[in-house]
């Protein structure tokens, strides 16, 4: 008979699969899922269109252009008809969708299939479930984005005949990590929503709503908030204060952070993301920043984005830990 007062010594527990086992299963699921094929197809086609247009445009002007370095990176940042926006804007627009797609049914899917009690009754910690799922989603996103960048680079080399320089490659690598963190924010948001919402469809609507609002109505929203914080009275100082506030407020949005960060990381000629007056650029010499300098310019953007992603994941984590097994 066991005694009532003390636990018997627990048997030596071998360190079991834990979050890795969850992650492996999830990655296999994602890679075989229809949504992966669809997303990859949409991204692939759109990217191909954008990069062919861009490379064509660059080819037309390249013979006359003197002293343009980082020509290769222009593939990602140049706007050429008929594609209305450069590739990075396009990625910035669609990347959240990747995160949402791989996060929205993380927990709600388990719940609706009735697999959550079974999963949680296995000898793994609860946090390993959410961590494994998050890591799995991000891994798949990383695979997709890396493939995308390599794809663009391949077309670029082929169409432009320009080989990327080591600096350009490191800029691309840094940008890739930045983009994955950005997708991580949306995936964490979608995961949080999947813990809170009882049904997968509801859980998809919340992050998609946030995404649309921030992307489509972002500037209006930030302007409105800035107008309250720093009212405009027609004077020049008030106007500048208002613009500064707008800038600050907009930097709370991951969408803005990603756009600003991308433009600096992928274009050595961009020297600031802040407000610049005509006087400040008057007779400035066009010159390029090296990667370290570019990083220094967007360090705040990177730091805030990492912070936002971490906070969002922490919220999802806490929500899941407090979630009742019985739905």
């Amino acid at each position: 008979m066991t005694t009532e007062t003390a636990d018997t010594t627990p048997p030596e527990l071998q360190r079991v699969g834990g979050w890795r086992a969850v992650a492996v299963k999830e990655i296999a699921d994602h890679l075989l899922s229809g949504r992966f094929v669809v997303l990859m197809g949409v991204l692939g086609i759109a990217t191909a269109a954008a990069v062919f247009a861009a490379s064509g445009g660059i080819r037309d002007v390249a013979p006359n252009a003197q002293g343009i370095t980082a020509l290769f990176l222009k593939l990602f940042t140049v706007t050429v008809d008929p594609v209305p926006f450069p590739l990075i804007v396009f990625v910035g627009f669609l990347a959240p969708l990747l995160g949402i797609m791989f996060g929205f049914d993380a927990v709600s899917g388990e719940r609706s299939q009735g697999t959550l009690p079974r999963l949680l009754s296995q000898p793994i910690h609860r946090d390993e479930v959410i961590l494994g799922k998050f890591v799995a989603g991000l891994t798949v996103v990383a695979i997709m984005l890396t493939a995308l960048v390599l794809f663009v680079s391949g077309i670029g080399v082929f169409r432009l005949g320009v080989v990327p320089s080591p600096t350009e490659i490191s800029r691309l690598a840094v940008w890739l990590v930045f983009a994955i963190i950005y997708v991580g924010f949306w995936q964490a948001l979608a995961t949080l929503s999947s813990v809170l919402a009882k049904r997968a469809s509801t859980s998809a609507m919340i992050p998609i709503g946030v995404w649309l609002v921030l992307t489509l109505f972002g500037s209006f929203l930030f302007g409105a908030v800035a107008g309250i914080l720093s009212p405009r009275d027609g004077s020049q100082t008030a106007e500048i204060a208002y613009l500064r506030t707008t800038q600050t407020v907009s930097q709370l949005s991951p969408v803005t952070l990603f756009q600003q960060g991308s433009s600096v990381l992928l274009d050595p000629e961009v020297r600031t993301v802040g407000l610049v007056t005509v006087e400040q650029v008057d007779r400035a010499i066009v010159s390029e920043l090296n990667l370290t300098q570019s990083l220094a310019v967007v360090w705040p953007q990177i730091a805030i984005l990492v912070a936002l992603t971490s906070v969002m994941f922490a919220l999802a984590y806490v929500a899941f830990m407090r979630d009742e097994v019985r739905a």
Binding site: D7, P10, R15, V24, P123
Partner: protein, 314 residues
Amino acid sequence: MSTTIRSKGLTKTYGEHNVVDRLDLEIEAGEVFGLLGPNGAGKTTTILMLLGLVQPTKGTIKVLGLDPRRYPLEVKRHVGYLPDAVGFYDTMTGRQNLRVTARLNGLDDFEGHIDSLLELVGLADAADQAAGEYSRGMKQRLGVADALVKSPSVLILDEPTTAIDPEGVVEMLALIQRLAKEEKVTVLLASHLLHQVQTVCDRVAIFVHGKVVAQGTPHELAAVDKGTKVRVEFRLGGDPTAARANLESLSNVSDVETGRVPGSWVAELEAGSLPATVSGLVAKGADVIGVHRLDEDLETIYRRYFEVQEEVSA
């Protein structure tokens, strides 16, 4: 024998409602223990507390000598659980689903084990079919295999026979008994289906509104609380109104109610008066087709407790 599952004063409160109310359980090793109660009696909550998935409000639990709150992983390593309305990953096959469970348990070299489990629950032929195509009953059987993947020493089954056809129920119950006898697995079986619990369980606790109202072997429970009255079901031929009037006119008979089928009546009799009652009925010219004592099985007790509870809640 040692105690495998023990709870003392176990209580879970949601808001002001005690879902589980001061529950004391003692389940011995190798025993098949039935937790019998209607839906919403707190059976699932109790099970989740045993697994450390729900925090008790009050009271203590020991599973295999361990507190699930302090050692949830160790407890879950040795306790196989078949949840109520078990679900599987629909796009994966039955076999793949079991593999996931095996990996989560840190097992390696598990293919042979999984094969034998699929054989055991009769799913060897359907093993490579997507689990989404399984019928409810097949999922239930896969659930049993899934709970056995970790070779548990305790098996907790929550409503294992719902949605299974009658033949499947017999097989499932035989399987449960076999596991208990041959593999020395301790089984906790939660169900609202009296007859099944009665056939396989060594001991039964009747659980209503979070409280155990009776506990013991099915035989003991049947013997308890007989008092001076026995419940008897009469099947009488001829005109129903006349048959009922005949029955009610006898001095030993009280509380006549309509039975489960037309032409049957359930009545309370003074203990020991059954032969006199039957001869009285015959003397009155009643067509006695059948007589059945109801307090031989658990149903009477079960129903009596439920009736009491309904009166309380009404």
